[in-house]
Amino acid sequence: MGLSVILGLCFSVSVLAQNVVTGTVTSSDDGAPLPGVSVLVKGTSKGTATDTNGEFSISASSSDVLIFSFIGYAAQEASVGSQTSINIILAPDLQELAEVVVVGYGTVKKTDLTGSVGLVDNEQLVKRGTVGAVEAMQGQVAGVDISSSNGRPGSNFNIQIRGVQSVQGGQPLYVVDGVIMPEGIGFLNPQDIERVDILKDASSAAIYGSRGAYGVVLVTTKAGSNVKQKAVISYDGFVGVRKAARLPEFMDGDTWWNWRQDSYISDAIVRGQAIPANPGYNSTGPELQRRLDEKDYTDWASLLIQDGRQSNHWVSLAGRSEKIGYTFGAGYQDEEGNVGGEKYKRYNFKTSVDHVLNEHWSAGLNFNLAFEQQDKGSPNAMLQAFRMNPVMSPYDVESGELIVSPGKDEIAGQPGKYHVDFTSSVNPLVDQKNAYQEASATYAIGNIFLQYSPVSWINVRTTLSPRFTSKIEGQYLGRDSEGRVGGQPYAQRQDNRSYSYIWDNQITATKSINDHGFTFMGLYSTNYFVDEMTFVAQNNMDVSAKSYYNIGQTGDLTKVTSRSEYSKETLMSFAARLNYAYKDKYLVTLTSRWDGASVLSEGNKWTSFPSAAIGWKISEESFMSDVNFVDNLKLRASYGFTGNKVVAPYSTMATASTGTYYDFGGTGANGLRPDGIANQDLTWERTGEVSVGLDYSILQGRVLGSVDVYNKKSKDLIIRRQMPYESGYSDVYQNIGEVVNKGVEVSLTTVNVSTGDLEWTTTLNFAKNNNEVTKLYEGTDMILESRGDGYNPDDVIQVGQPMGSYYNWVTDGVWQAGDTEAATYGQREGQGRVVDYDNNDVIDAEDKRFIGSNLPDWTGGFNSTLTYKGFDFSFSVVARQGMTYYSPFHAEFTNHEDRGRAKLDIDWYMQDNPHTDSRSSNVYPQPKNAGIYWRTYAVGYYRDASFVKIKNITLGYTIPKQLLEKTGITHLRVYGNVLNPFVFTDYDGFDPEWAGATFANGGMSSITYQFGVNLKF
């Protein structure tokens, strides 16, 4: 039997005439020849590929059909017949990129996807004109909540996917070209990112096992393997101006002086003392009075605020020559902040080469290198600039020079007597010149792979992905800087180095048998991470010391301190995934990953993370064949487990490295005490998630999108359990506690207008997540977990409430004159009142309430793009609603205890007194008499930070091709873009997006105006 088949084949080959067919394959795009196009004789394995000129030559018989296929283009078939020359024009398959979804260790067609995965492509990323890619992703994918932690150049962005699941916090797993990046993706130039796929549900993320619980962000940079065409050089760039915007309203000089006098008067009244004759005056000589009389006030903030610059340049070369595809790129970005000394610069270099060696073997490498330099300026100058009151002047009264302590302008010849006498804080204009903080970082990541296909349906691939990052942070505080006046300079420097490798070995098999389609992926992977740190600092350096580059060389060497640390973590994993499709209608995906981890103790090291998902393409059913307006309808459902990897190395070991300091009669006797109680049983936090989704596309793609609902329970949360005081230890980490996140996500894209020249598309997405803590440890329904915002006794995790909750007394006004009830509560006129919920005439723990949570009630995004002929106009909107924060800004600038610093322009209460006018307010109490609830328990500083931001508005124009013909330029677009032009919010601090940031970390809001060019040769 076998023999006869072979003979038959030989015979058939020998009788049909073989002709040589030649031809050229070009792209319909620009008519350019396409190299590397696969030319295959249908039904055989006989084939070739086009050369650099897009030409091919193949022998075929007249009955043969040739198939021309190329990634990114729609395949074409051509019958040979009598032709000896066949020229083919391939049309790009524009949908194809979007049609494929990267799912981790592989891709699937979007139509076959069973999980919940969001995509942001290059166009969306670069359109916004942001310096970092994450900011450009804001509001683009439903359920992916992105927010900034501050307003300074080079700031960090947080990503929360489908809610918060851990007391320990968490960020998604960032994977850049297969390299796990604990640092995130801020180091990449957005121009270099091909696409970002976000695995949102547990069934998708389960392939990353113990690291998947916070979702996975898969970044694919531009790679040689995706390049189709002959060499193209492109340039993309913009320049911009960054202006400080939406500055809060501060009190003017007169109002501020009124506040100051009121505070002195209040103080005397409260203490039962005589009201001073000249309240608020505590200086000598006429200068202070002159300034008040002449209204010679200083707007300190305006002295420090400046316009910043911004630019981004990216040049790349990408091409394909037969079997080799390549991309090279280089980029430069810089941004200057709105406070002098704040700068950010980044340099990127990338190389990606892909070589198809022959029909069995291929190999390639990707390499990304980035250098980052962040100048943060003085750690105190901006803070002091906003704190300095309008009555102080930066200049010395006698000399007219900048004065070190503007609050202590000494009268010449009268030591200890001052023109103005407020504070010893350093003049920010002086501090700025004498103190600075810097950070620089290097990122080098890459991968090398070798792939072998023994038969067409099996791929075996081994990938080695090394990563090296290094970060240096330095700080120098000179003599004339805040906190060091009269002392000697201080400097510190911290070096962090991190290196890792991941070695992935995977096998992928794809096979269809009749109606059954299978894809199997098996993985064996080892991961190795090492972090090292060195810290050096010196107090009392010599006055000649000017930087942190000469620590240990000058001054008092006994004041040098140093520290070094090492931490290593290894992971060994096996994973398997099976995709099965029946009749291309019913889809099943089964996934499991087994992770073994060094950080868990013996016997607990291995954990498995299984998941299952099904899909049903309803639109493929026969009963839908008459429903013409539906293009595509698919129902997805999944259930799976992922882990949140928050056990730090060595946390199951009882160690003793807490240094203690002592001496005996001057002889050093430093010690080491136990670090705490080690919990040997620690394991990963584990999240189980049910997710159901519906993908739809109707009216020939004019309306498309998806709806997802999910319910996930995270348990074994690692919580720092407070220990009884008598144990001598404050806490121990245990796997206790549960939190549930439930939510809905909707996305909708509509093509509103599509005529020949005019096209208008909008996309809308919305996500609502409900977060609820459902369990803590026995006997406890609330724990304190400081969020470090300045007042921490209110930071609670409470059963029945969302994470990020505040718990405190509730302020509801100010005790007015004649409110006799005030005395019942031990309070008096002018003081801030809180609600006595149980009306028992005592404010006690029972009267505390849940104030709010810093998690949003809902998030959303809206994008609109309108194109008309060469013009394009688009804008994007980001919304975050329902967050409550303890606002450190308000704690600072509405502080009623303080009377020497600038204040937010608020209406305050002032009781009747012989010196100043009384004032009414039922919101802000009397200065220096705010009462215990404002003063000690900070009840007055919670703010709703909901906002809607117009993220950007762009207007572009693409120069018609015919005008460019003779220039060699194939594409030229110019555009103007405004970033963050409008913010709609009730929050009156700097920016609602970082309302929770401490003052030192936050910063001003800004608007950036950009002009840019996209150019291709």
Binding site: A268, M572, G596, T655, G665, G668, P674, A678, Y725
Partner: protein, 553 residues
């Protein structure tokens, strides 16, 4: 396919599972390995001593709400300074309770490893030192709270239930531990370490304190006086003057039996030193390092009663107070020739006020522009209140400042910048313990001898302060003498509590407390003589049969 599988198996073998997943820790040492070595054990003992720095980081549990100190411009914990609002929620009490137990646990770990670690010649003494430290901490607890939980085991698991022992049991534990320590520690220790005299001093005080209590034993005062005399061991106070005793840089002297060490070479950073100097007196301004003056918090200022305890024969007035303040404050310490040093402020005492003009005229070059803030009675009815205790406005520098703890060599400006040791036990106090013990034994003559030794050093002219009538030796006289001698040295609240004089004297001499009706009266009419067991301690303890103290239930 087979080849691929073989290759895969080889790959897996390349990385041996069990080795690959073993933790490698190059930074930290495993506690059990470290403490079994001689040097590691020594580290643990040092860490145990270091706990004292944490326990004594804030003065409020020791000095607030007493007859000799009130809050200045900046209030301390109000519950501690005014009693009325003292509740189990008072954070300062909780911090103290927690910090002391943390120090106890380090000592427990040390005592545990004393049995397991490498044998050395110093091991017995170290064990004795640890036992002393642990007993010292329990003594602080039992005086503050009454009975507490005696935890004497090393804790390695998440133990969450603790029982409350009785006050009597805690005293028995302390005494038996100190008896053992006495036989272990060195006779003549390295300066800073615990020696036999320090153990005897503490034991004397423990017996003295227990003697007052209902379960005190008949012999307690005898034990106390005997031990105090043994701790005195024939030393008198003549070796160092009061001024020198508190002169910066002279902390290592014969008078000191035990002190918390704060050498500048042993600080984590410039502000992790002693805070003692920062708490007593007015704020001077914010430019200290540049202008040469110390930082002060304006927290605890002396009462009128304290100022009135001195007369012109007592050198402890100038020895404790910076009554003449130079334009550059630290000139007082580090400038030998002060003929060019202008005096910015002068605080004449009651007996100096009349001569103020003459004082200024004596050195017009330096005193012409001196601001003078004299002792001035503000009111006498119903109590004596002077301007220094209650100025109209709490401005910088307008009231005298305690200078005993000044450190002109501090490398930083602010709380915790002092490099000076905190004296916990010194010979003058040993004499006063002896005096009190003899008085309680009704041996007033010996008691008078012991007091006069302390007065003898302080008096400007020999005999001027001496007691001559043994009937003048009373508990009040002893408390007054302790105030003059030991102001700010973290004894006062315990002294008042021990002698049963807390309510009486605080109601008489503390302006903030006496203005409040029934300041000490808590729930059920009970007096707030003990501190409350902190609410978080009760909540975190899974043993709910842990009673709160009376007055706070």
């Amino acid at each position: 396919m087979k080849k691929i599988l073989t290759a895969l198996c080889l790959l897996i073998l390349l990385t041996n599972c069990s080795d690959y997943l073993t933790e490698e820790n190059k930074t930290d040492t495993l506690a059990d390995q470290l403490y079994r070595t001689a040097s590691g054990f020594e580290n643990l003992v040092n860490a145990s001593y270091s706990g004292l720095r944490n326990v004594y980081a804030a003065p409020f549990m020791f000095e607030s709400g007493t007859d000799i100190a009130v809050d200045g411009r900046n209030p301390g914990p109000v519950g501690l300074s005014e009693y009325k609002t003292l509740s189990p929620g008072e954070a300062a009490v909780a911090t103290f309770y927690q910090t002391v137990y943390q120090a106890i646990q380090v000592a427990n770990t040390g005592i545990h490893y004393a049995e397991l670690t490498a044998q050395t010649t110093t091991l017995p003494s170290r064990k004795g030192e640890l036992k002393f430290l642990r007993a010292y901490y329990y003594f602080l607890l039992v005086q503050s709270f009454g009975g507490v939980s005696i935890v004497d085991d090393m804790i390695t698991t998440a133990q969450t239930a603790f029982d409350r022992n009785t006050e009597e049991e805690v005293y028995e534990f302390i005494i038996s531990e100190l008896e053992e320590a006495q036989s272990l520690v060195d006779e003549n220790p390295v300066f800073g370490r615990v020696g036999v005299r320090a153990v005897k001093h503490l034991l004397a005080k423990v017996y003295l304190t227990r003697g007052y209590l209902s379960f005190g034993e008949a012999n307690d005062f005898v034990e106390a006086s005997t031990l105090a005399d043994e701790a005195i061991a024939g030393y008198d106070l003549s070796s160092i003057s009061y001024q020198d005793l508190f002169w910066p840089g002279k902390e290592k002297n014969n008078e000191i039996l035990f002190s918390i060490q704060f050498s500048s070479t042993s600080l984590a950073n410039a502000t992790s030193g002693s805070s003692q100097s920062g708490f007593y007196g007015p704020y001077h301004g914010g430019e200290g390092l540049a202008k040469g003056y110390p930082w002060r918090s304006y927290n605890l200022i002396p009462t009128s009663y304290f100022y009135d305890l001195f007369n012109q024969d007592d050198t402890r007035w100038e020895g404790s107070i910076m009554n003449v303040m130079y334009e550059r404050y630290f000139d007082f310490y580090d400038k030998a020739d002060k003929s060019e040093s202008k005096i910015s402020r002068y605080y004449p005492q009651a007996w100096e006020v009349a001569d103020t003009a003459a004082w200024r005229a004596a050195d017009p070059a330096n005193r012409a522009n001196t601001e003078i803030y004299p002792y001035e009675i503000k009111s006498t009815t119903p109590y004596v209140v002077n301007e220094w205790e209650q100025p109209d406005v709490y401005l910088d520098n307008i009231i005298p400042t305690i200078r005993k703890f000044d450190d002109p060599t501090a490398a930083a400006f602010g709380q915790g910048s002092s490099n000076r040791d905190i004296y916990l036990m010194r010979l003058a106090e040993t004499y006063l313990i002896a005096a009190e013990a003899y008085l309680m034994r009704n041996d007033k003559a010996t008691a008078m001898d012991r007091i006069n030794e302390v007065k003898g050093r302080a008096e400007r002219t020999p005999g001027a302060l001496q007691l001559t009538d043994e009937n003048d030796v009373t508990i009040d006289e002893i408390l007054d003498e302790r105030a003059r001698e030991l102001f700010g040295e973290y004894h006062r609240w315990f002294d008042l509590k021990r002698t049963g004089k807390l309510v009486e004297r605080v109601n008489l001499y503390n302006k903030d407390v006496r203005d409040i009706d029934d300041a000490f009266v808590g729930t059920g009419g009970n007096l707030k003589i003990l501190r409350p067991i902190p609410q978080p301690a009760l909540e975190l303890n899974t043993n709910k049969d842990f009673p709160q103290n009376p007055a706070y239930e």
